[in-house]
Symmetry: C2
Subunit: 499 residues, 2 copies
C-alpha cells in the first residue's frame, strides 16, 4: 500500500479526465442497461431465501465473466459474497467497489403493479404515474420516466450501471488505469453480518487503495454527490419500576411509586430543552475547523425547507444547521411506553415505564464509551443500574432501580475530507458533470458495511447513484432513467481518469 | 329534615342496640339467604342487555313485595331504577339505602365453573378450592366456604343480606324505628349515568335523612368497616409533537425536535422526585387536624405490608402514611406512549408523545380547578396549549405545542367524621360485633354514585358487606359465607337500633 501511495503522489499532477460527449452513445447504452436491469430485477432477491441469493450469483457470474472479470464466491458463515476482479497489474492503484444485490422483502399487495420483480416503466402524469409498455421503449426515452421494481434503486441499479460503464469503456477503446475489484453483498438488507469477518479471511483478495460504495441516493438536490462517512449506531433500553403489578390508581395513586414520573425526571437530566445532551463528556473530542464548516455549509440543504416539510419551528440546537448537527452523536428517544394510552388507557399505576434510546455515533465517539457515560450519569442520579428485571429483594432494597439493556455497537466511519483519493473523485465528478459536487462529510444514517470498512482500514467513499425519492425499502421502489445515465457516466469517468 | 334533626338529638341519649344472640337463628337465615342468592345470581345482569335488567327488576319486585315493601320503577334516560319503601311514618327518621343489581360482563372461558350465573359452592383446600354440591349444604356450613358466581359480592349479595335481615327482624318481632327507602341501580357497572338526574326528577321520593351505600369490600383486615367518602376523578391527556411524520433517527436524530424529551421535561416540572405535586395551589384547602389524623392512624393498615406486597422500598411522600396520602388529590401517569418499545422499537424520531394522567380528587379540590391549574402550569413552561391536533400553521408558529384533552369530572364526596348519623352507625356496629369499626375518612377509588350523593345533599356512608378478596369485576367473583352472616347482622342491628 505504501508503494501505491508513492505512485499516487507522482500521478496527481498528471491526472486527466474523461467525459462521454456522445449523447447518442450514452442513450444507446442506457437502453441496454434498462434491458439488463429488467432481467436482473426479475430474479427475486430476499436474503431470507438462500435460493434467491444463489440465483442472483449465477446471473452475476455470467454478466461479470462476459465483461472479462474473474469471479468467485467467498464462503462466509451465511450466504456467500460475490467477488469479481479484472486481471491485476501490479503497478496500478486498486479500487474496491462495494454494492449489494439482495433487496428488502416485498408485500405484493402494497405495490401498484402485479409483481415487484417484474419491472414496470412509468411516465409522470399529473400527481401520479402512467404505465408504458417496454415495447414503446426507444433510445430517446425521457430521463424523467422511471423503472418500478424491487431493487431497481437499492441496489441492483448501480450494479447494472457499473457493468454498462465497462461496456462503454471497451466500446470506446479506453484504458482503465486502475485495478478493479468488486465485492457484492447478498445480505445487506439483513445487516451484512458476515462481512467484517470476511475481511479477516479474505484480506489479501480484498486489498485495495480505496473503497467506493455505490448504495443509497444522491443528495435531494439531485447534484453529483460524494459521501465521506456514515454515523454509527447503538441503542439503550431503560426501564423504571413502580409496584410489581399495576395498581388501581384510586387506591394507590399518590402512594405507590409512579415509574412514568421517575423516567421523566431521569430523561429530563439527559438533554436540555434545546436538545443538547448535557451528560458530561458526551461530545468530547469533536472539533470542527473553519474549513470543515465551509464544506458543511456548501451542501445545498435548506434548513428552512426541512422545517417546513417536517412542520416544526425550531430544530434542536446541537449544531447551528443541519449538516453541522450530523457531526455530533445523537441521543434520541425513539420509543416511550408505560401502561396504555388513548382509548385503551386504564386507571392504573403502571408497573413499569420504558424509554428506547438510540445513539447515532461519530468517529470521535465510540459507542461503548457513550453508553458508559449514559450509565454513569444514571447512576449519579441515584439509580441502581441492573441488567435484568429486578428481584423482590432488589425492589425492596433500592428506591430507584433501572434495567438497562443495550444492543451491540456499529461504529461510525469517516474518511478525511482532504484524502487524495477523495480529491480525485471530487475533481473527476465535477469536471465530468460540469457541476459542483455535494460533499457530505458524514451521513446521519448508519450503513451495515461500517464494520467492514473499519476492518479494511482503507479510505472509503460512498458515491450514490440513484434518485432521492426512490421509495427505497418501501413498495413502489423506482429508479429514474436519468440516473442510469448519471451512474454510467460517473463510473465511466472515474474508471477512465488517472489519479 | 330540620325537624328530624331535632328528634335525633333527643333520641341520641336514649339509643339502644340490638344484637342477634341466637346463632342458630342466624345460621338458619344464612341458609335461606344462600338459596335466595342462588336464584338471584341465576338471572344474568349485564347492563348492556336491557332484558337482563328487566328480568332482575321483576325478581326484585316480587322479593320486596313479599317483605311488605311498596315498589316502583323510576324511569330514566336509560334503564329504570328500582325503588322500594316500607310504609312511611312521618315521625321517623328516614334511611335511604343504595345498592345495585347489575354486574360486570362475563367471559365464561375465564371462570373455573361452567356458568358464572350458576352459583357454585366451594371449600378452601390447599392453595385452591374444592367444589361441593349444594345438596351437602347444611345449616352448619363453614363460614370460610364461598359462593362463586357473578355478582355474589358485587352487588347482589348485599341486597340478599338486606332482605334476609328484614325477615329476621319480622321473625323476632322487632320494630324498625326508621322509614326505609331502597334505591337499586341497574347500571352501576356502566357508570350510573342516569342517577344524578333521577335526583332532580324524583327528589321527594328519595328524600331521606341519610344515605347508606352497601357496595364494595370491607377493610382487608376483615373488621367492620364504615366509609365516609370516596375520591373523585378526572383525566387529562397530554400530547407533544415532533416532526409531522416519524423521521429516520439517523438522518434527523439531534435535529428534528424530539417529542419524548419535551414530554419528559414537562412532566418533570409537575412532581418532585418524592412524588409531591409542585404545581402551585394543587393541594390548597386541605388541612388535617390532629383528631382527623388520629382516625386515619386508627385504620389497621400496614404501610410495611403494602410495600412488601407491591414490592417497593419507599412510597410517594404526599402523606406520611397510606391513609393520609388518600386525603390529597393525586396526579398519576397512567400511560405513556411514543413510537414503539421492545421488539417493535424502530429507529425513528417519533411524531408525538402522549402522557395519560388521572387526577383523583378530594372534596377540597374541585376537578375543574385542578385541571385549570395543570393547564396554567403547562402554559407557564412555554407551551401553546391547544385542544386539537396542531395545524401546519400552528406547528410552524410555536416551538412547544401541546394538545390537552380532558374527561368530565366526577367530584369526590365526603361526610364529616363527626356527623351524628355516622356516630350512630359506628356505635351500633361496634356494639353489635364487639369490635372496633374501621373508619375510612375517604376511599382512594371513585364510585359512580358520587354525583348522585352530591346532588342528594344528605350525609352518606358506605357500609361494605363483602370480603376484600372477592375478585370483584373479575372471573371467579365470590362471597364468603361468613359475610352473609356479617351483612344480615349489620343490617339487623342498624335497622333495630334507635338513633
Amino acid at each position: 500500500m505504501k508503494r501505491i501511495f508513492g505512485i499516487l503522489f507522482i500521478l496527481l499532477s498528471f491526472h486527466s479526465f474523461s467525459q462521454i460527449n456522445d449523447s447518442t452513445a450514452i442513450k444507446s447504452q442506457v437502453a441496454k442497461a434498462i434491458k439488463e436491469l429488467g432481467d436482473f430485477v426479475a430474479i427475486p432477491n430476499d436474503a431470507l431465501n438462500g435460493d434467491d441469493i444463489d440465483d442472483n450469483i449465477f446471473w452475476l457470474k455470467k454478466k461479470f465473466n462476459e465483461r472479462g472479470f474473474n469471479t468467485t464466491e467467498l464462503e462466509t458463515d451465511n450466504h456467500p459474497l460475490f467477488f469479481a476482479a479484472l486481471p491485476i497489474e501490479d503497478n496500478k492503484p486498486t479500487i474496491l467497489f462495494y454494492m449489494h444485490f439482495d433487496g428488502q422483502s416485498v408485500d405484493r399487495s402494497k405495490w401498484n403493479q402485479p409483481n415487484p420483480y417484474k419491472m414496470v416503466l412509468k411516465a409522470p402524469e399529473g400527481d401520479g404515474w402512467k404505465t408504458h409498455s417496454f415495447d414503446d421503449m426507444l433510445e430517446d426515452i425521457p430521463y424523467d420516466w422511471r423503472l418500478f421494481g424491487r431493487s431497481t434503486s437499492d441496489d441492483k441499479g448501480p450494479i447494472v450501471m457499473f457493468l454498462n460503464a465497462i461496456d462503454l469503456i471497451k466500446k470506446n477503446g479506453k484504458k482503465i488505469p486502475f485495478n478493479i475489484k468488486v465485492i457484492l453483498d447478498g445480505e445487506e438488507e439483513k445487516s451484512s453480518k458476515p462481512l467484517p469477518n470476511a475481511v479477516k479471511v479474505y484480506r489479501e483478495l480484498l486489498e485495495a487503495d480505496f473503497l467506493i460504495i455505490n448504495d443509497g441516493p444522491v443528495h435531494s438536490s439531485g447534484k453529483p454527490t460524494l459521501v465521506y462517512g456514515c454515523r454509527g449506531i447503538t441503542t439503550l433500553s431503560l426501564t423504571t419500576y413502580g409496584p410489581v403489578k399495576p395498581q388501581h390508581s384510586g387506591h394507590y395513586g399518590n402512594y405507590a411509586p409512579n415509574p412514568g414520573f421517575q423516567l421523566a425526571h431521569l430523561l429530563a437530566t439527559m438533554k436540555n430543552k434545546e436538545g443538547k445532551v448535557i451528560i458530561p463528556g458526551y461530545y468530547d473530542g469533536i472539533t470542527l475547523d473553519s474549513t470543515t464548516i465551509e464544506v458543511l455549509k456548501s451542501v445545498p440543504d435548506s434548513d428552512v425547507a426541512i422545517a417546513e416539510k417536517q412542520q416544526f419551528k425550531t430544530a434542536e440546537k446541537v449544531g447551528d444547521f443541519y449538516q453541522e448537527a450530523l457531526q455530533y452523536p445523537s441521543l434520541n428517544i425513539r420509543g416511550l411506553g408505560s401502561g396504555w394510552i388513548g382509548k385503551e388507557a386504564r386507571t392504573i399505576v403502571p408497573e413499569s415505564a420504558t424509554a428506547e434510546l438510540d445513539l447515532r455515533l461519530v468517529p470521535e465517539t465510540d459507542g461503548n464509551r457513550l453508553k458508559t457515560l449514559v450509565k454513569q450519569h444514571i447512576t449519579k442520579q441515584g439509580y441502581k443500574v441492573i441488567d435484568h428485571v429486578p428481584t423482590k429483594e432488589e425492589r425492596l432494597k433500592f428506591d430507584n432501580i433501572i434495567t438497562i439493556t443495550e444492543s451491540s455497537v456499529t461504529n461510525a466511519f469517516r474518511t478525511d475530507l482532504n484524502n487524495p483519493y477523495g480529491n480525485f473523485l471530487v475533481k473527476t465528478m465535477k469536471e465530468s458533470f460540469n457541476d459542483d459536487v455535494v460533499q457530505i462529510r458524514i451521513m446521519g444514517g448508519t450503513v451495515p458495511i461500517s464494520p467492514f470498512i473499519n476492518e479494511l482500514k482503507i479510505p472509503a467513499f460512498i458515491i450514490p447513484m440513484v434518485n432521492a425519492d426512490n421509495n427505497q425499502h418501501s413498495p413502489n421502489e423506482n429508479l429514474k432513467i436519468g440516473q442510469l445515465a448519471y451512474g454510467i457516466n460517473t463510473f465511466y469517468s472515474i474508471l477512465t481518469s488517472t489519479l
